[in-house]
């Protein structure tokens, strides 16, 4: 739990807020590169950390990320013309370069102003199909963390963004909440191929119901088809959580008794402060970024097999989700919850009653807590250790920033290319840390 005051500090991210100061010290994923596909294409408006920006790609292909409003009279540059290596405001024709240089001021003949003043501009880095920006004080940008999954060309990534109308911490905490997976996502597990399961006294038949949903790996079980062993190899809904702090944040294992005697089922998640969960059992991660205090983007970034057509990947991302609920198009990325199928729930066909797969199910419960959940009301349990540690690291970072230091994860040395995640069955006496030896060095460095 947090006190109401601590909750406010944790959740609010605007300029000048404690968490806002912390988050601005990391590279922040701000937009999809696919939204700025070619030189001089239309600019886009970006809202992150409670501020509005314009992003554009100039004639030479360089990305610009500027304060949204023209510094003359405040018209939005998202209405502007992108041309001849700059973006021009429609109102009075002021023109800006990607670095904020004021190139032209047609209604001001003298050059003194534009020689002495620059428009707000921020560094941009292209990685993993995303444009990452640094919004911290000039000269403080850390080296970009080159995760292995981020170094391939944008064409090799499937990027899908869901905008949710709730505070970002509700989504972020969900991304590191392993104990819900075998419960909320029972319908997904059934479509993937698992069989009957229990949630407390409720026995779920485990027949596939939402046949259209996206499932990891793409293989789905059809009605009448026998369950596949190993899809979710545990009936244990109360995983033991083991967690270690690392230089990049932390990694943890959700450890369940496996159905097979003498074995245990481990899902290892690496959390890279402050936005990215690299999740066991996937080939990518989930990035949660605050747009403002009451909305956030959850961005799934997954590496595609070589040769996969990007349009195919985009189609896969939307598979099974009604376009009235969500779509990958920029104007359709805000999640609108589907109607819950109470008949299917009552008949035991569906556990959660939401079609569309994990991200719709997650969105339903995370937004159901309200626009900004009051954590004074919650009753955490030991299985929430990763969520508890995340909050502590943010609280530590706030204290570090206030005392003039770097936040947690900045200014430390670790090999970002080796940060990974795992989901597998191992012998009951084996240490899960052996599965992520690349983290061993970072763990030592953290001590």
């Amino acid at each position: 739990m947090l006190t109401p005051e601590e909750n406010e500090v944790l959740c609010r991210v605007g300029p000048g807020t404690p968490m806002g100061k912390v988050l601005r010290r990391y590279w922040t994923p701000a937009f999809q590169l696919g939204d700025l596909p070619e030189p001089d294409c239309p600019p886009i408006k970006v809202t992150i950390l409670g501020e509005n920006f314009v992003a554009f790609r100039d004639t030479e292909g360089r990305l610009g990320f500027l304060d949204e409003l023209c510094c003359h009279r405040g018209a939005s540059l998202t209405l502007g013309r992108v041309e001849a290596c700059g973006i021009r405001c429609l109102y009075h024709g002021w023109k800006y370069a990607v670095d904020g240089t004021i190139m032209e001021t047609p209604n001001l003949a003298t050059t003194t102003f534009r020689e002495r003043v620059k428009h707000g501009a921020y560094p941009v880095h292209e990685a993993g199909g995303l444009g990452w920006v640094y919004l911290g004080p000039p000269g403080t940008a850390p080296a970009f963390p080159n995760f292995a999954w981020a170094n391939a060309p944008a064409s090799e990534f499937s990027v899908s963004e869901i905008i949710m109308d709730c505070n970002w911490m509700q989504a972020q905490e969900g991304s590191i909440d392993s104990s819900h997976v075998g419960i909320l996502h029972l319908d997904t597990l059934a479509t993937m191929g698992s069989g009957p399961r229990s949630v407390g006294s409720f026995d779920f038949a485990g027949e596939p119901w939402d046949l259209d949903m996206q499932v990891p790996g793409g293989a789905r079980r059809m009605p009448g088809e026998a369950p596949r062993p190993g899809v979710w190899p545990s009936e244990d809904n109360a995983p033991r959580i083991e967690l270690e702090t690392t230089p990049f944040g932390f990694h943890y294992a959700a450890i369940r008794d496996a159905d097979e005697p003498g074995k245990k089922f481990v899902r290892i998640t690496a959390f890279v402060l402050p936005y990215t969960a690299i999740i066991g059992g996937t080939n990518g991660g989930v990035i949660v970024v605050p747009r403002d205090d009451y909305s956030c983007s959850t961005i799934g970034v997954f590496r595609l097999p070589p040769g996969t057509d990007r349009s195919v990947a985009e189609e896969r991302a939307r598979r099974g989700i009604d376009p009235a609920v969500w779509g990958p198009e920029p104007e359709n990325r805000r999640l609108r919850l589907p109607k819950q199928d109470r008949e299917a729930m009552a008949a035991g066909k569906s556990f959660a009653g939401f079609r569309g797969g994990n991200r719709v199910q997650d969105g339903a419960v995370q937004t159901s807590a309200g626009r900004m959940y009051d954590r004074a009301k919650e009753h955490l349990v030991p299985a929430d250790l990763a969520i508890i540690r995340l909050r502590r690291l943010f609280a530590d970072s706030i204290r570090l920033i206030e005392s003039g230091h770097d936040p947690v994860g900045i200014g430390v040395d670790y090999d970002s290319t080796q940060v990974t995640a795992v989901s597998t069955i191992i012998d009951a006496d084996q240490d899960w840390r052996d599965l992520v030896p690349s983290h061993q060095g970072s763990r030592e460095a953290a001590r």
């Binding site: 739990m1 601590e6 033991r240 009753h379 955490l380 349990v381 030991p382 508890i388 609280a395």
Partner: protein
């Protein structure tokens, strides 16, 4: 509070790992009062104050940031 909860949770897992049974969480009076203030509705209903599934016990001997699992 985030530090207190994190330390308590870590202790609980260590205790469980060692085969111990955990029955209560001893915290400093300041922490106890902070939880009571945040959970005023539960106090008004005469529910016991609990954290991480354990009943809270105020103990002057317990440092603010180092709760004790018993």
């Amino acid at each position: 509070m985030s530090v207190v909860v994190d330390n308590a949770c870590t202790q609980i897992w260590e205790a469980l790992d060692g085969g111990a049974t955990v029955t209560s969480l001893r915290v400093s009076p300041a922490v106890y009062e902070a939880v009571a203030a945040a959970r005023s509705k539960e106090v008004a209903r005469h529910y016991p104050l609990m954290l991480l599934g354990l009943p809270l016990v105020a103990d002057h001997a317990v440092p603010t940031y180092d709760p004790v699992v018993a």
